[in-house]
Symmetry: C2
Subunit: 302 residues, 2 copies
Amino acid sequence: VRVLVTGASGFVGRCAAAALRDMGHSVIAVVHSGHRDPDGEALRVDLLSAGAAGRIAEAASADALLHLAWTTRHGAYWNDLANLNWLASTAELVAAVARRGTRRICVVGTCFEYDWPVDGDCDEQATPTAAHTVYDAAKNACRLVLEQLTRDMDLSLAWARLFHLFGPGEHPDRLVSSVCRALVAGQPARCSSASGLRDFMDVRDAGAALAHLVATDVRGIVNVASGETVRIRDVAFTLGELAGRPDLIAVGELPDRPNEPPRITASTSRLNREVGFQPERRLRDGLNDALTYWSEARDQNG
Amino acid sequence: VRVLVTGASGFVGRCAAAALRDMGHSVIAVVHSGHRDPDGEALRVDLLSAGAAGRIAEAASADALLHLAWTTRHGAYWNDLANLNWLASTAELVAAVARRGTRRICVVGTCFEYDWPVDGDCDEQATPTAAHTVYDAAKNACRLVLEQLTRDMDLSLAWARLFHLFGPGEHPDRLVSSVCRALVAGQPARCSSASGLRDFMDVRDAGAALAHLVATDVRGIVNVASGETVRIRDVAFTLGELAGRPDLIAVGELPDRPNEPPRITASTSRLNREVGFQPERRLRDGLNDALTYWSEARDQNG
């Protein structure tokens, strides 16, 4: 299968493109003109520029689209109006590739689209949506718009809701990265009470899950998550233990954020049974790899 | 022509539906279940409820859709995430009516979609867009999404950008209404320096313009505006003069809002020449009617 992958130089995109190549598929990577070259064939296009969708569709002639590109400026994207530019350009891209014969469309959404149940997993069918930020509201609106567009063009659409990811290439200020950086520097890793329950997935598994999903005809919403529920602070404790420095994990030393959801966890039966995908890594193994990654990064920089 | 009008009990919708009936067209009004009955045939449906688009499309079998319904909570709608629900439900409604044979689609946008030139009118072709709030960004994204959707379904789409409106039924806290209310109460009408240039159009003319537009095949963006440029404070001065109480107009007594755009004015050549519509009322006449409206409202309320 020939798969067009946008955001292919990003955190998730790099892993998804690698997984697709490992599976023997052909990848046409779309990367922002300002980003460094990924492996293989690449189109260097700014997706928000005029005419970009048409140029990509013409150059690619792909069987499937895996669309990951979106605004992701750390800390800023939650309420950035650029989310609406990405919504509109996503609709434009899907329509453009469909006109050139692409029939399979896989776009990523987010676990933030859900109205999280306090006492159970988010289920693709049963759990309603709720708007929390411009980001998740735009993602959910994008899904609804694509459902209309793809229905009329008779396309196969999967909407992959990503949960909490970590792993190689993660932004240094996010939870797992920041705890790893503190640990390898021998400094205290200060956290809030971090009592919420989450689903953490290694980004390499998430990339592999998306690669599997885009190659199937499974339609509708699919949670992309590990299925392992963990308390956030236990992620920090596990990292401390793996680093041999449990004493550095300073839980409760930062204030809790207001309105922090108590639980964001995933039902993964669609991913496991319909897509036929199981993650390769247990949480503990992925966290150990993250620690190694930041340890090596520190050795290289210092 | 049989025209489905959403938001038909709203400020603009009432006037558009009345104008369509005056022109001899058949109107199927969609009104929110909580609103009072408008004239004629009406479907009482909450457009954001599940399945609403399909039910409306099935019941209406219209030749054309004039879609005005959107979140408009005074003061709140600018950054309300409900704008994204309206974007998604608009795409759903357009697709649903198109599947039942509606070929002409007219949806309202806003002059806030433009990156306003400081020294000239907003032109449908030449003036770029800019995102200022969630509201205008969602409207612009909606337009881009509908362009894709209608292209693939071979529909005729007009996107009517409304400028500043006033007239019967205007929210009492908006400029013209609030000045009129002060004047008829014999109280000072306190304003900011109000030095910006705007295009004010009587809502009855705006409704008539939309009625004309939806009945044509003019496609793309069309500014719906009077073409008369006026300084905001001169609107207040004119009202004071018409009421015989120029002494009550207290310009400069309220602070200027930060980032108030110096100029939001419209090129109306598409509306005038391609749609063939000219407003009936001069600004002064419309303002006089507004004053009469609020004077009568005051008499009725005691």
